[in-house]
Amino acid sequence: MFDLSPMRHISWGIVACAAAIIVVSLFFIYSGSQGLGEEVVIRYVERQVIWGVIGIMIAAFLALIDYRKLASSAFLIYSAFLVLLVIVLVVSDLRRGAGRWLSVGGFTIQPSEFAKIALILALAKYLSREDLPRNSPAYMVGALLIAAIPMVLILKQPDLGTALALVPVVFAMLIVARASWAHLLYIFTVVTLSLPLGWSFLKPYQQTRIKVFLNPQLDPLRAGYNAIQSLIAVGSGGILGRGWLQGTQTQLRFLPERHTDFIFCVVAEETGFAGCIILIALYATIIFIGLRIAEQARDEFGRLTALGITVLLTSHVVINIGMTIGLLPITGLPLPLMSYGGSSLVSVCICLGILESICARRFVF
């Protein structure tokens, strides 16, 4: 069924780093969920293990199949996820509230986690077309439409973080696809100028988050609480950390969302600067191998897909860490492979599987 011969060319570096991060994540999900009751702690770790196994299996499957098969069905996948995103909006509207997830047979999934990959595939497919001149406005407008439709739907959920994380992905793919610099500059200018306009479209809580980011002391007990407590957690870790299960900010539950969005704080508090360096080094290894895969990709679609996936991982890592240490506003964005949650873990595994598929076939013509 599968041609196993390209498998000798997969990147073992990515496999090792990703596996290491997943294993580490189990320890800090365990630490971060302390105090929620022993049953809950065990359940969280067990579930994450199950999701990890499922993720690795999916990744292995994707690595085995030729990514060019994805190229041929890229638009189909893309359209399917657009429909799912619309369903999320309709359902959450019926629920009268915000919602990023769908309930399917007892599981809740976040379609936006997967829609990001669909967007990358579709955009890569579009940008690698040979029939349109690269410097024609039509080429650029098409690319922007493909990018903008899912981004707007995600923004409407509302999930500002995920939408924003996609911006560098789109730009990077356009740059590498050798879109006209003039067009890029033009888009960049328009986006920058429309930022103040965008402010009024933000929900009040999103505006508060940004105001509090600029000055956490504005409301230290409520809106600024998370920003301050996460900063204290990170800072108090010092060089070597307070020790696993010893961080007072984590264990006494001063930190919010310890096992999900703020898991980096737990690592920072309990293992200190040393632990942070190691974790960031693991991510950097995956990222630079990803860029190398993009460089060596056999065709334009592979190159753009690999790049898109790599930049997506990068922006998640940077935005998540940036928000926990007070460099960026707080947006609910998981740390890839570390944060508790099946959708995020599985979607990152899918990304890495596709990346490996491209890597494995870089010498196949």
Partner: protein, 592 residues
């Protein structure tokens, strides 16, 4: 060597840019993490510590205050507070209902107090302070029905004899903003109780003790995680006063129903044997929880019961000044023991007429008789011969315009119209008439009853001015002496012994001669020396008399100097002298 097509190289170029950009961003994160964790790590570590630590203060029982023989004047009784830990309550509305009924304040009041007094979670909120035993039992009996409600026991100050020696013992109260500013460095915090007046204030650092602390660790919502350590409070040290409760009571009794002050001190060492000021008050009124109504009433009482007249009231000395002017005249050689003046009952100075209090006149009078009769004409003459500056100089020798340095807060100094004082107060003209008035202790002269007692002691002991004190020693809760006050001689006034003897002889006659103005102070078994005085204060239409008696005993071997001042009384001889007699009688344990 593989040759790449040109196109390939130009294709790698944007990837390299993106790679450099990503490296830059990751490096920024790393550097910032270093800045937070390594550079500022210690500060964040402290912030994390203060996040999780709560210190619950446990007040220390204040030291006890005893009289000189060991009778307790101020101690601590257990005070019961009704406290609520909201986290343990369960059904809040039901608790408010039940507790409101027991405390007779209704559920709304309970809710309101819990809301306004809330500090941190887990820490108990005091809903009602110092409740009576009935309430304590009512709460304890309903323990099952009142989860989260308990009785806290805290030491509360008790002044056993109420108004007796109130001004001396003093009172405590909630620390004020200004006091906190000064005392914060010694570990005081808001809500602490401190001495506000009297010995409670001046010996605060001995009496306060050290409050204990329960350090607990709380979680992110403020709930108790675990107890970390506990420091038991250290009780304050005990203070023994120099006063004798029995003598103090005699002094208070002598003043009962009147306005005035009494000071009794030991001329041999400056110990205050008794000090009373009337009207008095119960210092217990100021111990929290205070009744605002009662405090306001005390504050606005026009008789100023809170004022310690013995050290804060200044009065003209009147005829009790005569021993000083006598000594000034004798020392300066203006008169001798043989100098006499004729008293026809009046004295002409230029065109002004000055009366003696005895209109028929005292005939020819020498110094001891001048004192005995309290003959004004004799002292008019003495005053003019001695002169303003030498009189003022002798008054200053006795420290009349200085603070005595007594170990009580709020002492006031008297007034002597020295050259400097006149300059500072803009008094430029001085006529011989002013000197005449000064000679009988009127005019600008003012002193406190305490200073008056110190002067009498110095006359009795040969010119020794001691620094008076009301505390004898401070001992630790276990009884080890920490601080013993030794007699402190401020000054030895140089005077000829025979001059002092002349004055003392005059003072002896005041009480013991059948012509003396102080006969009503005479005791059978003890020879008393003294001087009466009656002063007029206020303007023509609002004239008020004060009655003085100053004295010491026994004449030959002085052990007590005593001053009685009664505001609004006509005559020292008729009112102050008999009051003094009762006090002397109590001191010497003889029949009145």
């Amino acid at each position: 060597m593989i040759e790449y097509p040109k196109d390939t190289i130009s294709r790698q170029y944007p990837l390299v840019v993106i790679g450099i950009a990503i490296m830059g961003v990751l490096l920024t994160l790393t550097v910032y993490l270093w800045y937070l964790q390594v550079f500022h790590g210690e500060e964040y570590f402290q912030m994390a510590a203060s996040n999780r630590l709560r210190l619950v203060r446990k007040p220390a029982p204040r030291g006890l205050i005893f009289d000189r023989s060991g009778t307790i004047l101020a101690d601590n009784r257990p005070g019961f507070d009704v406290e609520v830990v909201p986290e343990d309550v369960g059904n809040m509305a039901l608790m408010e209902q039940r507790l409101g009924k027991i405390l007779l304040i209704g559920p709304d009041k309970v809710r309101e107090r819990m809301k306004s007094r809330r500090s941190y979670a887990y820490l108990p909120i005091t809903v009602e302070s110092d409740v009576n035993m009935e309430t304590v039992l009512a709460v304890e009996e309903r323990q099952q029905l009142l989860p989260g409600v308990h009785i806290g026991v805290y030491p509360r100050r008790r002044y056993i004899y109420g108004g007796i020696a109130a001004h001396l013992v003093g009172s405590i109260g909630m620390i004020s903003k200004d006091e906190l500013e000064d005392l914060r460095i010694q570990g005081y915090v808001q809500q602490d109780l401190v001495g506000k007046t009297g010995v409670e204030k001046s010996y605060e650092r001995f009496l306060s003790g050290e409050s204990g602390v329960d350090a607990i660790q709380v979680d992110g919502r403020g709930y108790l995680d675990k107890a970390l350590y506990r420091n038991e409070p250290r009780p304050g040290n005990n203070v023994f006063l120099t006063i004798d409760l029995e003598l103090q009571r005699a002094c208070e009794a002598a003043l009962a129903g009147q306005t005035g002050a009494v000071v009794a001190l030991d001329p041999r060492n400056g110990e205050i044997l008794a000090m009373a000021s009337s009207p008095t008050y119960d210092p217990g009124v100021f111990v929290p929880p205070v009744d605002g109504e009662m405090v306001r009433a005390l504050m606005s009482d026009e008789n100023h019961p809170l004022m310690n007249r013995a050290i804060q009231g200044v009065y003209p000395p009147g005829s009790t000044f005569k021993p000083i002017i006598s000594l000034a005249a004798l020392e300066k050689g203006a008169i001798t023991g043989r100098t006499t003046f004729e008293c026809p009952g009046y004295f002409m100075l230029g065109r002004h007429l000055y009366h003696c209090w005895y209109a028929k006149g005292h005939k020819r009078v020498d110094l001891p008789d001048g004192l005995m009769f309290s003959c004004n004409v004799f002292f008019y003459n003495v005053g003019l011969r001695t002169g303003r500056d030498d009189i003022a100089g002798m008054a200053c020798e006795f420290g009349m315009d200085e603070l005595s340095g007594i170990d009580l807060p709020g002492e006031r100094a008297g007034v002597v119209p020295t050259e400097r004082w006149r300059k500072e107060n803009g008094i430029t003209s001085w006529s011989p008439g002013d000197t005449v008035v000064m000679a009988i202790g009127q005019g600008y002269l003012l002193l406190t009853p305490l200073r008056s007692a110190l002067i009498m002691a110095a006359v009795a002991n040969g010119g020794k001015l001691f620094q008076p004190h009301v505390v004898r020693q401070v001992v630790s809760p276990l009884g080890d002496p920490l601080y013993i006050l030794q007699p402190r001689l401020v000054k030895q006034i140089e005077m000829e012994e025979r001059n002092l003897a002349l004055v003392r002889e005059g003072l002896r006659r005041v009480v013991n001669s059948r012509y003396g103005t102080g006969q009503k102070c005479k005791l059978e078994k003890v020879e008393i020396a003294g001087k009466t005085g009656t002063v007029q204060v206020g303007s023509e239409d609002n004239r008020k008399n004060h009655a003085w008696f100053v004295g010491y005993a026994p004449y030959g071997n002085p052990q007590i100097a005593l001053v009685v001042l009664l505001e609004g009384k006509e005559s020292g001889g008729f009112f102050a002298a008999p009051a003094a007699k009762d006090i002397f009688a109590t001191y010497f344990k003889v029949k009145k």
